[in-house]
Symmetry: C2
Subunit: 423 residues, 2 copies
């Protein structure tokens, strides 16, 4: 239909707390209007806005469902939950209309947001972009219901936790795949991605830029801001993400493939913390590898996810790993059973001890040398004992006592200059 | 797909008060289960259940809309309101599943309930019955969102007040039009159609049967039970309606084309009351008809709906009519302007006086003689003054003073044996 290939699509996403009340919906409408009026890029600028359900709507609907059935079928649950986004989308379109902005709301049926049939956890398989383009014919803004899709058979689905982020990125990604330029702006009550948790580390800096890869490693820092699936999708299609606050004009954080050239890559971009970990040590395992494989198999069957795995020793091995708190009994039982089934003696498994994992992440680590040394020195100078360590190309993680976790973050933040100088 | 033509489709409809809470939804699910288990007609029995939004949901959504926009566009309003029925349909399907009844909810998209594009007052144009049949493949019950449809362009619409009744009858009518047998059962908090308003007339009898034609004339008696559009649709397609209470096992009322042969047609089936009427008299109008036409035109322009129109006199005419309360000024002004524009003098228009219209309705009136005489005698014996009268083939209406309205109904109920003897 003669669409221009170099048109720009701006996809904005507003989460549940941003549209929790009629007042907040009107605020979002004003922001959208300002954004439209500030556009100086000419006429090749279209705006799609993805919304979540208002505030606690989804929780309320789940509670209703539990009242009529202790185990509601996932298919009906999706039918129920999908209404939440339709309500907020219609209200936002109304609020925009009231400000003189021509807007129309569209649900998953109306945009052909096709997903797999995995109810409550569906994956977007396609979006019929021609339906989106048609929606723009008489409208400046198309308001899209996030979180939901429709199967080829016409059943409604939902995308799981953080699904509205995924909806927004998917729309932008689909546009990119057809040759359009697209950015995706994620608005929430958090103003961006920080170097460390700002609630724990005074002076934690908000980042202007972070790479997809760093973002994925720094999951815990971004968890309140961005759903990880949406970051993966953005990386895959090269969609620039921008995370900022709905409630201020403060500049947010861009999530990009590579930092702008003028920006020197820091060695460490951020520090993240994973609490509630347990560290286990299994001693004196025969070193032929079969028993080790048997232990991993038994632990997988017991539903235990392992992290920070390391081995030591030669003929007789030591195995160290961590798992989320709450699996101590299962781990000891699985390992013991495995040892006994193999008729082994002399082995030992220590019951888990609680630890915290602190990770420093940075694309710049790749090119830097001595990062592990800097980490150890920083901790040793504060007499923090390292109970374990693992590294990848852009990540170095240490295990420390729970009560030393905050100090560990502070030490790494200081060492790698992650806090604002004057705060 | 080899569907049997003589299959029976039972369409049930439950209104907002019947599904107002999770408890009530569970009650409806139990009723549906009982109905399914009581079926003795073999396997040719399918059940579609149309639901309204829960209790005051629609009012709540309208209030939300008003908070974001003083005049929300009808298109977005429909998008918003359509969520109400989707919630109740999903919850009812869950509640049925919990009782072991295989059920699935379907919205307007999923059943191809195609309507005109008149948002907030759309007309159903077609239903894709193959989608309904397919929904029955693994399910005993298909729960359908009432009140809503979808345009050929994919926009959501709503059917206006009482729209869920219309949805239910339309599904049954479509089935009938394809050669299936179908009945439509409308459940609400009212146990059926009564001869008179049971809140006003002690002993008012519930009817076992009433004809479509009588039902349409007795609109005010059925207003809480049945939307008139749905009665028209049922009449057009010959769908038998059954109205009963959701909250009891009491037998309800069948609305049919003709009473069963074994049932003697009563002269009068019911008596209905229209309050808040005003009676106007225009005196000394030239009798050539042009001025009369001018008056009707002027009143139509002023937005006044006329009822009970009668004229008297020959060369110089008297015009009497009623209109809903609240139009007195508009009527006097419209008539006066019309007279003055025609350069007339000597005319007079009396400001309206409040009256109540009481109507007796019955298919049997057609065949009976002396009905008007019986009405007048009954009222005269109670010294009730008749301020106006009009008749049609199945209806006789009288105007009386507001304060005599209840007595008038009682007099007619007695005369035509509309109350139970022993109450």
């Amino acid at each position: 239909m003669g669409e221009r290939q170099n048109e720009m699509l701006v996809v904005q996403k507003y989460g549940g707390s941003s549209v929790a009340t009629p007042e907040k919906i009107k605020n979002v409408a004003s922001r959208i209007k300002n954004r439209l009026e500030a556009k100086e890029t000419g006429d090749g600028f279209k705006m799609a806005v993805v919304v979540s359900a208002m505030g606690k709507t989804t929780d309320g609907l789940i509670a209703l469902a539990k009242e009529v059935s202790p185990a509601p079928p996932a298919r009906e649950m999706d039918m129920l939950l999908a209404t939440g986004e339709q309500v907020s989308a219609a209200l936002l379109a109304m609020a925009l209309g009231n400000l003189g902005v021509a807007a129309i709301s569209r649900n998953a049926f109306q945009l052909g947001i096709e997903t797999s049939g995995d109810h409550s956890n569906a994956r977007i398989q396609d979006i019929d972009l021609s339906l989106l383009h048609r929606s723009f014919e008489n409208n400046s803004v198309v308001v899209i219901t996030g979180f939901q899709g429709v199967t080829p058979e016409g059943d409604l689905t939902t995308l799981g936790r953080g699904g509205s982020d995924t909806s927004a990125v998917a729309v932008a990604a689909k546009a990119v795949s057809t040759g359009m330029e697209a950015v995706c702006e994620i608005y929430s009550d958090v103003p961006g991605i920080f170097t460390c948790d700002p609630n724990k580390v005074p002076g934690a800096r908000k980042l202007d830029y972070i790479t997809y890869k760093e973002m994925l490693e720094l999951a815990s820092l971004g968890a309140k801001v961005l759903h990880m699936r949406s970051v993966e999708l953005a990386r895959k299609y090269g969609v620039t993400l921008y995370c900022a606050s709905t409630f201020s004009e403060e500049r947010g954080t861009y999530v990009v493939k590579e930092l702008p050239e003028w920006l020197e890559s820091p060695v460490v971009t951020g520090v993240t913390v994973a609490r509630n970990q347990m560290k286990f040590v299994v001693k004196r395992i025969p070193g032929d590898g079969d028993v080790l494989a048997g232990i991993f198999h038994a632990l997988a069957l017991a539903g235990v996810n392992l992290d920070m795995i390391s081995t030591a020793g030669d003929d007789i091995s030591f195995l160290t790993f961590t798992a989320m708190d709450g699996h101590a009994e299962a781990v000891v039982k699985a390992v013991s059973d495995c040892m006994n089934e193999n008729g082994l003696t002399g082995w030992d498994v220590e019951p888990g001890i609680p630890v915290t994992k602190v990770s420093a992440v940075g694309d710049g680590m790749n090119a830097a040398t001595g990062v592990a040394g800097r980490v150890f020195s920083a901790l040793r100078s504060r007499k923090i004992k390292v109970l374990g360590i693992s590294t990848s190309d852009i990540n170095i993680s240490v295990l420390v006592d729970d009560e030393r976790a905050d100090e560990t973050v502070a030490a790494l933040a200081e060492e790698f200059e992650l806090t604002a100088k004057n705060s």
